[in-house]
Symmetry: C2
Subunit: 376 residues, 2 copies
């Protein structure tokens, strides 16, 4: 068994839980946020910085690594851990989401997806079997079944056959997966915003007995309230003794609300992407560091933060760096945002342990300036 989920404590107030996810590259405290390292690097960060901020697992993208540098090259390097010099856990997605969101001229049929590379137009094909071949070569601790993430909004007539195909593809992934002892393959529940379809998807996938389950197709443009509704009826259908991963979610409010509904794992490019534009997550809400009012502000980004950036640099300095397109500036904002989310999840775990998650949420939202859970 490549991963083992250990349930430590269930929240008395909500559906949240504390767990430990044991992997070949260390044990992960859940619920956890996973920084995204698309191309075998968490943009601007070093492995040491990620460890310093206590990242326990990072996510890397199958689609991107398939295109550059290619999975065979990564395999030759000894796998992704060795290639990027990261000895903690890694999860790779299946490529499904990027094939549908990034590539051009895609054609989908039962066999798989034909598409053109977003880089050079090269014609490529990914099937469930190919997604397994790539992810087996990359060698992440957790790998994902090849799925179609339906767009939002979408009619049930589109979502149903897409979801049913995703289930058939999940079965093919299970069969094609060559390395189940070292890499845990997670199934992905789809079904759009339709309860009946989500229930069908969850039922069919759990019958296949994956070592973990993701909920895909959320945070695709729907209101957060609708996402929480889908979680409310979907999570209870997943087994208690397996980890649950909510894909592509990383706004502070959704991390807390997701954890309250029993989610163990999250990932999102949000903290790193907005950092590069100079938008910082702070305990008082978002802070746009390029704003002129910070030009002579010699205080830290976030007065309540003890990260490397906040311990050592001022808003005025970081603003100066961003205004001058200096890379060290986006290193500082990236570090801060990732630390903010990792630290938020640590506080969430602490709050669950102390049975005060609801109070924590209310205090956090009040300070953050969130009234409506809309988030970032």
């Amino acid at each position: 068994m490549a991963v083992r989920y250990e349930l430590i404590k269930t929240c008395k107030q909500t559906g949240a839980r504390i767990g430990k996810l044991h992997t070949p590259h260390g044990t992960i405290d859940t619920p956890i946020f996973m920084p995204v390292g698309t191309l075998a690097t968490v943009k601007t960060m070093s492995p040491e910085e990620l460890k310093e901020m206590e990242a326990q697992i990072i996510l890397s993208n199958t689609y991107h690594l398939f295109l550059r540098p290619g999975h065979e090259l990564v395999e030759e390097a000894g796998g992704l851990h060795s290639f990027m010099n990261w000895d903690r856990a890694i999860l790779t997605d299946s490529g499904g989401f990027q094939v549908f969101s990034l590539s051009n001229l895609r054609e989908i049929d039962e066999h798989g997806v034909s598409f053109r590379s977003h880089l050079n137009g090269e014609k490529l094909f990914i099937s469930p079997e190919k997604a397994m071949e790539i992810q087996n070569a990359l060698g992440a601790d957790i790998i994902m079944a090849f799925d179609e993430c339906a767009p939002y909004p979408a009619e049930p007539d589109y979502v149903r056959p897409s979801m049913e195909r995703t289930t058939r593809w999940a079965e093919r992934c299970l069969k094609a997966h060559k390395n189940p002892d070292k890499q845990a393959l997670f199934g992905i529940v789809q079904g759009g915003m339709y309860r009946e379809l989500r229930e069908q998807s969850a039922r069919e996938l759990t019958s296949l007995d994956f070592p973990g389950y993701a909920i895909g197709g959320l945070s695709v443009g729907e209101p957060h309230s609708l996402m929480y509704e889908v979680l409310d009826y979907t999570v209870p259908l997943l087994p208690d003794n397996k980890p649950r991963y909510l894909m592509g979610v990383g706004s502070p409010d959704a991390l807390i609300e997701g954890a309250m509904r029993g989610i163990d794992m999250f990932d999102c490019v949000l903290p790193t992407r907005i950092a590069r534009n100079g938008t910082c997550m702070t305990s008082h809400g978002r802070l746009v560091i390029r704003n002129a009012k910070y030009a002579r502000d010699f205080t830290p980004l976030d007065h309540h933060c003890d990260c490397y950036t906040c311990r050592n640099f001022t808003r005025a300095y970081i603003r100066h760096l961003l205004k001058c397109d200096e890379i060290f500036g986006i290193r500082l904002t990236t570090y801060h945002n990732l630390y903010f989310l990792l630290n938020l999840m640590k506080q969430v775990r602490q709050a669950i342990m102390e049975d005060r998650l609801l109070d924590f949420r209310d205090e956090f939202f009040a300070q953050y300036g969130l009234n409506d859970s809309r988030g970032f």
Copy 2:
């Protein structure tokens, strides 16, 4: 006295010397290379990384900081050390070189230089007095007199009056300098490639008794052999008990040849600039990491190097990052190149201590693939 130069040892083979430069922010072992932090940041690097690679002093640019964020703002932040969180020594140049090389529509007269900002066309003016005002506000340990760096080639009819004005400006800088107890003001010897003019400049400047002397106007396009010739007759005119700084020089061969001629300090954007294009300095010469032949090369950049980059990452990985425009890639090449030059100077100091600098040079050049001292 803001800085004090302590002569430790004179080379038995060459004009080289080992010294210690005591500053308000630490003691610097000379000869030394100073990484360039143009806009109050050594591009892509953190202060901790610079310390880890044993940078003892960095250079920052008066012209650039005058434009962004402005010297008053830096002064409000508590000076450059505090603004950028660097507690070791800093040298600021005078802005002269950038005014002449970067700005537009400049007009020079006895009073100073009018020019338009290369960023937004704003009309600006720097005089010796203004250069002192800016550098006093920035608060570096070593500051430079405002000079004109004559172009190459230039006729003596141009170079002579320019050099003589630079001397008059140096006197005005001495008078305008408000902080001689904390900031050492260095004079800059000019005179182009003309021995008579260099001698006159050195004679006049040394009579003003600066705490240190720079040689400017070299590495401006002339052959290295000509630069060495100028050093051969200029350095002996400078006092033994003061530090000597060769401005804008950073190719490995010129660092060694400069040290052999008695130079104590060097700076150059070369290692950081070429790093961002993926060109790496190694003990076997330059290595262009984007080259296809490194795609599957799972060895370090430089087999003889023990820097962070070479201890942890392969050529294949670094190439992948550079090809994908990933910032961590240029962090790795920048770190390596700076470490390479800092380590080279450490080896030079060791060789001087052991009276084997000529052998060291020959061995280094042979391995580096230099036959003609042309360098990079």
